[in-house]
């Protein structure tokens, strides 16, 4: 028997055979996440029911020296949950219990497979909700959100997953269950929870998560503003921020993205617009009323060609429908596309959009732009037809060039989708070797054997056994010389 076969046999005995998948056809259903052009059939899939089973699975991997990868709902867009052919994929789909909703503590405690939107659903009756709202919130899991430090349209005002996770029980890559953080804030010691959030499954598996619940806003008002150009929409965004308003969300779409959304979901955006902005304000009614007047005036002053104010929840949902379905919608206007995720300082938006247009033009490729305009998080959708010779390669080049632009303007190679498999190669463009080596010290502390989701984030793994270069007094200057 191979070590994987032995592992499978052992786990079947320990956990029950319904927890373990080794049928080739069934294994294939786990071969990729939301970034479907990376595919690897996992060696084995395990579906634990609770933290104990998860810990036993990891311990078995450690004993066998086999790598393991966590998977939530598989909606990740950077290949973070890409399996290993000789490894175990640990899927949290059977850990979907909401363990506690405690409005008086403003907390909920959930298993990692719980779907993001379910937390809000469970809290709404108490007057609360879970603030981070990725567009995938109907399907993505809290464990995946924690691993990716996911954002959403409303993180401009409310922050990211990391600002809303207070505690977690994790299985360490040694197979131990450890509590990080807690129900109260400021747990003494290093903020290992803060380091764990966003670590893309490379520091262990979250088995229970304590999240913050946020009081529902008294009032929500949403504006859809059409502009002739993305420049004008960008100027309006800048004016809103400069006026000291912090909207709950400011989202922008360009003409091509509007065209796609229209074709897909008939959201009825103003025809002929070069760009639309969705601006949402929420909070106490009197506060929202005062600022909404200000925002409307600023959009008009910056050349809005049409302003629509959502009259009710149904109309607000329609405004958002176009935006939230934008990724899938471009499928209506292009057979294939790449979803890019990069960040620039918000003020560089007009300039960077022009340069993206130039690069796209030079390569004969179309780019539809959808983004979180408030915080400079771009989601250019690079359209191509894989059936046309060379187009896929040209689209890939444009997509890479966009990342280079983000770095050139002092931004980031990813704002929310993570590094995963896809962007590890770009990490050295954003960080020095010393930066990457320092980050991996953390990994060595958690996972010296390098078994937790290996090959993700870092282009060159650090061997944890390496002894840091020792400095001897003889080859260093005396204190008086250097001081």
């Amino acid at each position: 028997m191979t070590s994987l076969e032995e592992l499978a046999a052992g786990l079947r005995t320990a956990l029950g055979s319904d927890r373990v998948v080794s049928d080739r056809v069934e294994l294939r259903t786990y071969e990729c996440d939301g970034l479907a052009h990376y595919k690897v059939t996992p060696g084995l899939v395990v579906l634990p029911r609770d933290a104990g089973e998860c810990a036993r699975t990891v311990a078995a991997c450690v004993a066998a020296g086999v790598p393991f990868v966590a998977r939530g709902s598989g909606t990740g867009l950077s290949g973070g949950a890409l399996p290993h052919a000789d490894g175990v994929l640990i899927v949290t789909a059977k850990m979907r219990d909401i363990l506690e909703v405690a409005p008086a503590d403003e907390r909920a405690v959930v298993q990692p497979g719980v779907i993001n939107l379910q937390v809000t659903r469970a809290a709404t009756a108490h007057g609360y909700y879970y603030a981070p709202d990725p567009s995938s919130q109907q399907i993505c899991s809290i464990g995946g959100n924690v691993a990716e430090n996911s954002g959403g349209a409303h993180c401009l005002k409310y922050g990211f997953t990391t600002n809303h996770v207070l505690g977690a029980e994790i299985v360490t890559p040694d197979g131990d269950l450890v509590e990080l953080g807690g129900r109260a804030p400021d747990t003494p010691g290093y903020d290992l929870l803060g380091a764990f959030v966003g670590s893309e499954g490379t520091l262990g598996i979250a088995t229970r998560v304590t999240v913050r619940l946020t009081r529902l806003p008294e009032s929500v008002r949403t504006l859809l503003a059409a502009f002739a150009t993305t420049d004008a929409a960008g100027a309006a965004t800048s004016a809103i921020i400069a006026a000291g308003v912090v909207p709950a969300a400011v989202e922008m779409m360009d003409a091509l993205a509007i065209e796609a959304a229209e074709a897909a979901v008939a959201c009825g955006y103003p025809p002929g617009a070069g760009a639309v902005l969705i601006v949402e304000l929420d909070g106490p009614a009197a506060e929202v009323a005062a600022q909404f007047a200000q925002v409307t005036a600023l959009c008009e002053a910056n050349g809005a060609t049409e302003l629509r104010i959502a009259a009710d929840d149904a109309e607000r949902a329609l405004f958002w429908k176009g935006r939230k379905s934008a990724f899938a919608a471009v499928g209506r206007i292009s057979p294939d596309y790449i979803v890019q995720d990069g960040v620039i300082p918000r003020t560089a938006l007009p300039e960077v959009l022009h340069r993206i247009g130039e690069v796209a033009g030079a390569h004969g490729v179309r780019v539809a732009n959808v983004f979180h305009a408030g915080d400079g998080n771009l989601h250019p959708l690079v359209l191509f037809d894989a059936a046309t010779d060379g187009e896929a390669e040209r689209a890939e080049e444009v997509s890479g060039a966009i990342i280079d632009l983000c770095i050139e303007y002092g931004g980031s190679i990813t704002g929310e989708h993570g590094v995963g498999t896809d962007k590890a190669k770009y990490m050295p463009r954003m960080f020095t070797d010393d930066d990457l080596e320092t980050m991996q010290l953390l990994r060595c502390a958690f996972d010296p054997a390098g078994l937790a989701n290996p090959g993700k984030i870092f282009p060159t793994p650090r061997l944890c056994g390496e002894v840091p270069r020792r400095h001897s007094a003889s080859d260093a200057p005396a204190p008086a010389e250097i001081f």
Partner: protein, 382 residues
């Protein structure tokens, strides 16, 4: 590089240093820490030095690295609502015009680096979070001199591990922070504070009423002098119209008064040189904790469950700490002795039990294998 032999004033919690050095840049700091490692020096970083004596004393000490030459605003990008600051910059000198770094500093003189290293917070943490939530990028020099960055200058960024979180609240035990990037917030044009004083038994109902009223306070603070009644003070910030309306609603639900922040607002309850505790609790348990703290009195953020207490008597301190620690554990939180006279330090466990200590030791071993940085000052003797 500025350096000199240590004088009588250069000690940390009573442990004398041999040298004091003040690097003027990240590069100089790197060179300094390379040399310090070569000489096997034990190092403690000093910011404003306002509270350097807090926490347990270091097991050994050769060099104090002082950040007073690492000062200044590297960048303030107003349109992007971010700033990059050198670590030795005093918070009180920052002026971003119509914008702010939304950190309430309880002690004058505190530096950017010291505030991040201690993860400080004040009343408005309820709305803005703490140093950890506002920090978006960090530059550190590791023991041994390696310079490393994480994060960046944009608010939204998930590339690589968030080392800023790890260094926030690390009390100088993992290395020297030389630069920090923060997100900024607009300064709201108007503010109001509504206060009400009630017997401690009435606190729970009052806090629940404030929570129910969707007025989004920036802070909900409480203060209870020993054996006294509790004063609740709620801060709202925003537009003039919005604040007027929100304050009026609070006045009604609290049965309180609109006015200025009370004199105790944002200040620690203990006297210099006294014993100061930090007490945390799940929100629903804050009223119980406030009731249980009749003997010492208690003050702090009822809106987040982070409170402070002074212990007047050195003799009773071990008993009081033990009792309050049991109380906070029941409430899902912790009791930490932040500062205390030498006799009290010896008699109590300042940090108390901490979960995940084994992983924390492994992190320390990776970043500071020789245990040169502030040895013994942190949790579990790290």
């Amino acid at each position: 590089m500025d350096w000199r032999p240590a004088t009588e004033d250069d000690h940390v919690a009573g442990v004398p240093a041999r040298f004091v050095a003040a690097p003027g840049s990240t590069e100089e700091a790197s060179e300094l820490l390379r040399a310090a490692a070569a000489h096997d020096f034990a190092v403690v970083v000093r910011g404003g030095g306002t509270k350097l004596g807090w926490g347990p004393p270091p097991r050994r000490l050769d060099l104090i690295v002082d950040t007073h030459r690492l000062t200044g605003v590297v960048e303030h990008a107003a349109g992007d609502l971010i700033t990059v600051l050198r670590a030795g910059t005093p918070l009180s000198t920052l002026d971003f015009g119509s914008q702010q770094l939304a950190l309430d500093s309880p002690l004058p003189g505190a530096t950017v680096g010291g505030s991040v290293a201690a993860n400080i917070s004040g009343p408005r943490r309820m709305l803005y979070g703490t140093a950890r939530d506002l920090l978006i990028g960090i530059t550190v020099v590791r023991p041994g001199g390696t310079v490393a960055h994480s994060g960046g200058k944009v608010v939204k960024n998930v590339a690589g591990y968030d080392l800023g979180k790890l260094f926030t609240g690390s009390y100088g035990t993992l290395g020297l922070i030389t630069e920090c990037a923060f997100r900024l917030h607009p300064v709201p044009p108007a503010r109001a504070v509504v206060t009400r004083t009630v017997p401690a038994s009435g606190l729970g109902a009052l806090l629940a009423a404030v929570r129910d009223e969707q007025v989004v306070p920036s802070a909900v603070e409480v203060d209870r002098p020993p054996d006294g009644e509790v004063t609740v003070a709620v801060l709202v910030e925003g537009t003039a119209e919005g604040v007027r309306d929100r304050a009026a609603r609070l006045e009604k639900v609290l049965g309180g008064q609109i006015g200025e922040p009370p004199s105790w607002w944002g200040a620690y309850p203990w006297q210099p040189g006294g014993t100061g505790l930090k007490l945390t609790a799940a929100l629903s348990k804050v009223p119980d904790l406030v009731e249980a703290a009749a003997e010492t009195g208690i003050r702090g953020s009822a809106g987040t469950g982070v409170l402070y207490a002074a212990v007047g008597s050195d003799q009773d301190a071990p008993r009081i700490v033990e009792r309050l620690r049991a109380e906070t554990v029941r409430a899902g939180g912790h009791t930490v002795v932040l500062t205390a006279p030498a006799e009290v330090r010896q008699a109590v466990d300042m940090w108390g039990p901490v979960p995940g200590l084994d992983l924390m030791r492994r992190v320390k071993d990776q970043f500071d294998p020789g245990h040169h940085f502030a040895p013994g000052r942190f949790v579990g003797g790290i």
